[in-house]
Symmetry: C2
Subunit: 335 residues, 2 copies
């Protein structure tokens, strides 16, 4: 197992990215290939003993967070994310992990590896820790202004992913909308609903934002614009609530005692709502395994994303998604 990590991608790259990769290599025994500027990555590696499980692959350029993804990917052939996917294409690594510009990761992945047959647009799936189990939300930012057949394909991708990687059996799919009745929602939702109803997928119907936590469905399909807003709302809220809880508890003697006595359950609580535990989000629909991480990822998030990538390779996620897409294509006109 060899996972290529875009050492130049992320708000605190390469330092934090390299540190996460070193931890993954040491703690999980995964071979990591750091793709980035040789000098900067070597500096970030610093005092860490180089091991035979860490390889440095030099490349000249990288893509900034604020660059236009398509343009940057086309023009910067030597950018770290492009080189990482080229390594995957040549079979030198088994998966790619990046905390860089997610649009560029998507574009580079499609350019190098191509899409799975039947997929118009690959999508990013985020796994939420619901009370009754995990909930997969797709797409959380790769695509805006989607057409209904594309939204339907997101559902198929997530279905195949949930079965092959999360061990779910026939997961229920919900379509994110603003009312549970079919008459509500926008035009995009109304048309997509029909496609799901005609398919053999376990379609639950429309769901609302609160269902990300209810556990009534295991998969929630939405446009990348809406999904990204939902994802960022949960992240912002988790951080704000953690700070607020701390402030309330620290403001009184009883609260401070509670804070002390309850430090372990409070820590568990924080961990449960912390997206860094989950590491990253799989990019589904390209011909290879890739994990997209939050730009602000910590070492721990990178380590967990590398673990996730290795698991998906072991689970043969790509073969499973490809065969599931093929089966659904044969019985549906929209793939």
């Amino acid at each position: 197992m060899n996972v290529a990590v875009d050492a130049m991608g992320g708000d605190r790259a390469p330092g934090v990215i390299v540190e996460g990769a070193v931890q993954a290599s040491a703690e999980l025994g995964i071979h990591v290939t750091l793709v980035g500027n040789e000098e900067l990555v070597a500096e970030a590696l610093g005092s860490h003993e180089p091991t035979d499980r860490i390889t440095l692959h030099h490349c000249k350029e990288f893509i900034r967070m604020d660059e236009s993804p398509l343009k940057a990917v086309r023009h910067k052939r030597e950018a770290s994310i492009r080189v990482a996917f080229d390594l995957l294409k040549r079979g030198e690594v088994d998966a790619v992990v990046s905390a860089g510009n997610s649009g560029a990761t998507l574009a580079a992945g499609v350019l190098s590896l191509g899409r799975i047959k039947g997929v118009d647009r690959p999508a990013i799936a985020s796994i939420f820790p619901g009370e009754k189990g995990r909930v997969v939300v797709i797409d959380v930012g790769a695509n805006v202004d989607c057409r209904p057949p594309q939204l339907f394909q997101f559902g198929v991708l997530a279905h195949a992913f949930a079965i092959s990687c999360l061990g779910m059996e026939d997961p229920k799919i919900g379509l994110l909308s603003i009312g549970e009745e079919g008459s509500k929602g926008n035009e995009q939702v109304r048309q997509t609903r029909e496609l799901f109803e005609r398919s053999r997928l376990n379609f639950f119907g429309n769901v609302e934002g609160r269902d990300i936590f209810s556990g009534d469905v295991q998969i929630i399909v939405c446009d990348g614009f809406v999904g990204n807003v939902a994802l960022k709302v949960t992240e912002g809220m988790a951080e704000a609530m953690t700070r607020l809880l701390r402030r309330e508890l620290e403001g009184s003697i009883g609260g401070r005692a509670a804070f002390f006595l309850g430090r372990r359950p409070l820590k568990n609580f924080r961990r449960r709502i912390d997206y860094e535990e989950y590491g990253g989000a799989p990019l589904l629909g390209i011909n290879g395994v890739a994990i997209v991480c939050h730009g602000g990822s910590s070492e721990r998030a990178i380590k967990n994303a590398i673990r996730m990538a290795a698991q998906y390779v072991k689970n043969r996620i790509l073969e499973k998604i490809t065969s599931e897409m093929k089966a659904l294509k044969e019985e549906s006109g929209v793939l």
Copy 2:
């Protein structure tokens, strides 16, 4: 001050609605006109002593949560929400509060009272308790598939509202998108951005879902579809986190002790994230004061919404918004 309450609107109407109205009347000294089926409302009033501050206004019909708003409002002339707005039009009451079908509330409000000059589509503004102060998100569900000039108008409405009712001075406006850079976001966002940049409003630029809590802007403008998803995500998450925190604390001896010692700060914490404290969301852009409540509102939420409505009437919100719209209309081509 006399506030008409749609006694038939809400998941637990009329019982909970009537109870909230009785509390508002008793605790806040506000005259309440309960609009609904005489028999059912009288039954809900039950043992409560009728006072001279509670009036019952009978009407035959009501609109269910799952009805198509426009059709229902057109055909049911005797529906409680229509009668409530007719009372407002005739000057018999000063404001309307409803926890019923929000689309129907919007449609009935427009039909009875008309729109403020310069407003294509009225919108629902929700007030979020940010760490650095309140944040107004507009629209949270009245309109889907909005055109850019309509989104711009939402910003103007919220601007006038924030100044006249929330005491803000020149609030910063953010446009909800999926990246802070102008190149990101969908087509709707890109076009709306230009309108804000050309106006004299204090436009901050694009913001992300997490900024509902960051306090970097005081107003966030979005399509009603996206805004409603964001609103429901926060509600679902607040509930899930409260349950999760409780479960973690109750699972250990230290946690249970912490739960006991910290009961007051924990209660404060819960109250801070509880939307019922805020009561409801103003429907901005119609010629009158109306507050839209959550379908699942409790007595307390209804009471707080009635309080809110009375405050807005006292603050002469309608005159202020109307004159602000007029001023902005004169210097802008999009109103």
